[in-house]
Amino acid sequence: MTIPPLVVPFSDSMFVLALGLLTLAPLAIAGVALLNTGLGRSRSAAQSMLGCVTLVAVATIAFAVVGTSFAGVPGHTLALAGKSWNWIGAAPLLLRHFDLVQPQLQLEVLFEFLAVGLIALIPWGSGADRLRLPAGCAVTAVLAGGVFPLVAHWVWGDGWLAQLGANFGLGAGFIDGAGAASVHAVGGLSALAVVWIAGPRKGKFPKEGLATAMPGHNTVYIVFGCLLALVGWLAWNVAGAILWLHAGPSVLAKTVINTFLSGSAALVAAFTVTRSRFSKPDASMCANGWLAGLVASCACAAIVTPLEAIAVGAVAGIAAPLLVELLELALSIDDPSGAISVHAVGGLWGLFAAGLFAPRTGQLLAQMVGIATLLGLVFPLVYLLFWLLNRVIPFRVEADGERLGMDLYELGGGAYPEFVIHRDESYR
C-alpha cells in the first residue's frame, strides 16, 4: 500500500463532495453526546445533554475568535539547528481573512470548526456527574481557543510535525487523516487532566472493597449513539482523507470500508473480551470498543489495507474494555464515559498503526515523534492550564450538587420528571 500522493488537483466535484460530507460529520458529535449522556447517571442527564450543546457553541465561538488564527496558515517559524520550525499559525483574528482564501482552505477551516465541536465533548463525558457547566465551558474555551489550534497547526497547517518529512527525511511527515491526534488524543488526554483535577464521583472509591459500580443510566442512548457516530465517522474520515491527505477518488471507497471494518472488528473484540471477562457481554464496554475502533481508524483508514484495518480495530477493541477496568479498579481514575481509553489510547494507537503499516521509510518514526509531542508536551501543558483554570473556576460541584444531582442543582429540573429516580446507595 502507498500513502496517497500529497498533491492532487482539487476539482470542483471533490469540493462539493467534501462539503457534503462535512455536513454529515456533526452526526459524530451527536453520537458522542448521546454516549456521554447514556453513560452518566439519570439525575445528571439533562445537564449532560444541555452541556453538550452549550460546549459545542462555546467551542465554535472560541475557535472563530482566536483559534482560527493559531491554526491557520501562514505560520510563525523558528530557526533551530539549521531547520525551520513552523510552530504557530499567524492568520488574522476573527476570521477576517476567510473570504479571501481559496475554497479548499475554507473547507479546511470548516473541518476544524467541526473538530472543536467534537473535542469539547470528550472531557465533558469524563467529568460527568460532578463537572460544573461553567467549568466545562472554560475547559472548552481553552481547548478550542488554544490547545487544539496549536496541535492542528502542527499537524494540518504545514507545521513542524507535518514538515518532519521535508526537514528530517521521516516519511511524509506526521500524518493524521481525520483528527486522531488533534481531536481524539488531545481530547482524551484533556479528559485525564479533568478527571484528575475534579476527582472521582462521591462514593466511587470507598475506603474498603472494590470501586462502586455506577452503571450508565440508558443503554439505548449509548448504542444509538454508536450508530449515529458511525455515520458521522464515515463522513469525517473521507473528508479528512480529501482535505489532509489529498486523497484521490480511488482511495475514498477504501477509506469508508476501512472505517467500517475497524469499528466492526473493535466491536467484535470488545464483545468477546467482555463476554469472557464477565460471562455476558457488557453493552457499555462494547460501545466503547466500537468507538475506540472508529477513533483508531481516524489516523489510518485512508492508508491501510482492509486486513490491516481489521487488525487496527481489533487491538483497539481489546484494549478499550481492559483499560476501562484497569483505570477504574487499579488506578483509581473515575472516567464515566471511558474517554481516556477510547479517545486517548485509541487515537494514539491509530497514529502508531498509521506508521506501522505505512511503506515509507521513517514514517513510523515520524508518528512516534508526534505521539511523543502529544504525551510529553501537550498533556503537561493541558494539565497546567486546567490546574490554573480550576483555581479561578472550580471544576467540581459542591457536595449538595452531587447529592441532588447535576440536573436539579444546576438546571432546577430533571431530565425525566415523570419517573422516580433511584436513590443513591452511596449516601445511606
Binding site: G203, L331, P336, L375, F379
Partner: protein, 72 residues
C-alpha cells in the same frame, strides 16, 4: 509525586527533539526517540502513582457496593 511525574514528561519530549536535531543516523535517532517515549511513560507512571497515593490518603466517603467486578 504527581507533579514530579508531570515534569518528567516534557523531559522525554525534549529528548525526542534532541534526537531529531543531533543524530542524522536513522538507527541512533530511532533509539533516542524510543528512549524519549520511555521517559514519558515513566513520568506518566509516576504521576499515576502519585494520583493513587493521594486518593488513598483522602478517599471520599461512601458505602461499599462492590459487585465483584465493577462495570463503571
Amino acid at each position: 509525586m504527581k507533579y514530579a511525574g508531570l515534569l518528567v514528561m516534557p523531559t522525554g519530549f525534549f529528548l525526542v527533539i534532541a534526537a531529531l536535531v543531533l543524530f542524522p543516523d536513522a538507527g541512533l535517532r530511532a533509539t533516542f526517540v524510543v528512549c524519549g517515549l520511555a521517559v514519558q511513560l515513566l513520568g506518566l507512571a509516576v504521576a499515576v502513582r502519585g494520583h493513587m497515593q493521594r486518593a488513598q490518603e483522602a478517599p471520599p466517603s461512601g458505602a461499599v457496593i462492590a459487585s465483584g467486578v465493577s462495570r463503571r
